[in-house]
Amino acid sequence: MIRAFSYNEFLFLLSAVQWTLALSAIAFIGGATVGLVIALARTSDIKAVRLAATGYIQLFQGTPLLMQLFLVFFGATVMGLDLNPWAAAALGLTLNASAFLGEIWRGCIQAVPRGQWEAASALGLRYPGLMRYVILPQAVKVAVPPTVGFLVQLIKSTSLAAIIGFTELTRAGQIVNNATFQPFLVFGIVAVLYFLMCWPLSLLSARLERRYALATR
C-alpha cells in the first residue's frame, strides 16, 4: 500500500532532525575530548607517544567512515557486546572525529611560535601549566574556524549511521520513501533540512576565519 506524502510525513522527517543533531553533538563532544588528547600526543616530546598518535590518525583518516561504523557495530557483537545502533554510531563517529580534530588541532598547537614555549619554559612552567596557560589559549584562536568547518562535515557524516539502522534524518527519509515512494520529494526535503543545519555553520566558519585574518594582520 502506498501512502501519500502528507504533513505527518513531513513532521516525521522534521522530528528526525533532533536525532541527527543529538548524534552530531555527542560525536563532537566525544571527538573533541579524545581529539585533544590526540593533538597533545602528536606534539609530545616522547617519540613513542607521537608515533602512536600518528598511527591512530592515519588509521581513521585512511579508511572509510562507513567501514569504521561497520567494524564498531559488528565488531562489538563479535566480542560479545550488545551495542545498539545508537551507541555504535556515537562511538564510531567519536573515534573518527577525534582523529580529524586531533590532526587539525595539532596544526594549531604548532602554529604557536616556538618563542612562546621557550619563554614559558624559561619562567619555570612545566608542560601542564605551559600548555594550559600559554600554548592552548593561543592555539584555540587559530582552531575555531577550522573546527566549526569540521562540524559541518560531522553533521553530514552522521547520515551514514542510517546504514547500521540508527533512525536519524537519512534513515527517516528511507522509511518515508518506502511508504510513499516519492524519492525525489522525500530526499529533496531531507537534503534541504541538512542544508539548513549546515549552512549557518559554514557562514559562521567563514566569518570567524575573516575575523581571525584581520586580528593577525
Binding site: P113, Q116, E118, A119, S121, A122, L123, L125, R126, Y133
Partner: protein
C-alpha cells in the same frame, strides 16, 4: 684560559664575591655533526656582569640557552647555584626558577595583559596568591618604568616597552641570574637606549648578568668581563678596557675591526 682580573686599568674596579653562581665545565654540544660548543669552561661569580660577543653562528646564544636548558648539551656539566643539571626534572625546575631570561623577540604572551604576563609564573610556578603576584608585578613594572601600561596587551606597546615588560616578567620570579639573548637586536634604534638603561639599572643593583649583545658601548660601560666567542669556542676573555684596547687574538682583532668601523 686565565681569567683576566686586572684591577689596574679598569675604569671602575668592582669587588666581585668569590661565590660561583654558574659553572660550565667541559661543555660540548653538537647539532648533528655541527660542533656548536667546544669544551666550554666558564665561571660566573655572584654580581658579575658578563658580555658575550662574537660573529653570528659562533655559539654565543647556544651557550646561554644551555644554562637554562632551552638547548641540551651533550657533554660536560653545568651547575647553577649549586645545582647540577641532569635528567632529573626537579633539578631543571630549580635552575629555571633561579635563572631569568630575556629574548631577542621579547616573547611576551600576546593573549595576556602586561600585568598578567608578569603574574603568570609567580602564580603557577611558585604558587603565589593572585593579590601578591599582582603586587610583585606592579613593583617590577614600576621599576622598568611602565606601570601605567599594566592593563594593556603586549601588541599595543612599542618594541622597547615590550622588552622592558619582558625584563619585569623575569624579575618577578626573583632570579639570581639574568640571561639576555641579544635583547636590543630586534628594536628600532630609538628604543635601544630605554632597554639598555633598564639593564644598566639592574646591573647597578648588583644583578648577576650574562648578556649576548652587539652593543659595545654597553659592554664598555657595564661589563666586568667581555667574552669573545668564535666557531663554538671561547677565544678570549678580558676586562672591557683590555678587550677593546689590547685584544690578544687575531680573531678578536678582526671581529672588533668589523663591528667598530661602521
Amino acid at each position: 684560559m686565565a681569567s683576566a682580573y686586572d684591577t689596574t686599568d679598569v675604569p671602575a674596579p668592582r669587588p666581585v664575591s668569590g661565590e660561583v653562581v654558574i659553572r660550565m665545565a667541559g661543555v660540548q654540544k653538537w647539532y648533528d655533526s655541527f660542533h656548536v660548543l667546544k669544551d666550554i669552561e666558564l665561571e660566573v661569580h655572584k654580581g658579575e656582569r658578563i658580555v658575550i660577543c662574537g660573529p653570528s653562528g659562533s655559539g654565543k646564544s647556544t651557550l646561554i640557552r644551555c644554562i637554562n636548558q632551552l638547548e641540551k648539551h651533550q657533554k660536560g656539566t653545568i651547575t647553577v647555584n649549586g645545582v647540577t643539571i641532569d635528567s632529573a626534572h626537579r633539578h631543571l625546575d630549580q635552575v629555571r626558577r633561579d635563572v631569568g631570561m630575556v629574548f631577542q623577540q621579547f616573547n611576551l604572551f600576546p593573549h595576556l595583559t602586561v600585568v598578567e604576563n608578569c603574574m603568570l609564573a609567580p602564580m603557577r610556578v611558585r604558587g603565589t596568591s593572585k593579590q601578591e603576584a599582582r603586587d610583585i608585578a606592579m613593583k617590577y613594572l614600576a621599576r622598568v618604568r611602565i606601570p601605567e601600561q599594566a592593563d594593556k596587551y603586549p601588541g599595543q606597546l612599542s618594541g622597547g616597552q615590550q622588552q622592558r615588560v619582558a625584563i619585569a616578567r623575569s624579575l618577578c620570579m626573583n632570579p639570581k641570574v639574568m640571561l639576555f639573548d641579544e635583547p636590543t637586536s630586534a628594536l628600532d634604534p630609538e628604543m635601544v637606549k630605554e632597554v639598555l638603561d633598564t639593564m644598566i639599572g639592574l646591573a647597578e643593583d648588583g644583578m648577576t648578568m650574562l648578556c649576548v649583545t652587539h652593543e659595545m658601548g654597553f659592554a664598555k660601560s657595564v661589563a666586568d668581563r667581555v667574552i669573545f666567542m668564535d666557531r663554538g669556542e671561547i677565544v678570549e676573555q678580558a676586562t672591557p678596557a683590555e678587550f677593546f684596547t689590547n685584544p690578544k687574538s687575531e680573531r678578536t682583532r678582526n671581529f672588533l675591526g668589523q663591528i667598530l668601523t661602521h
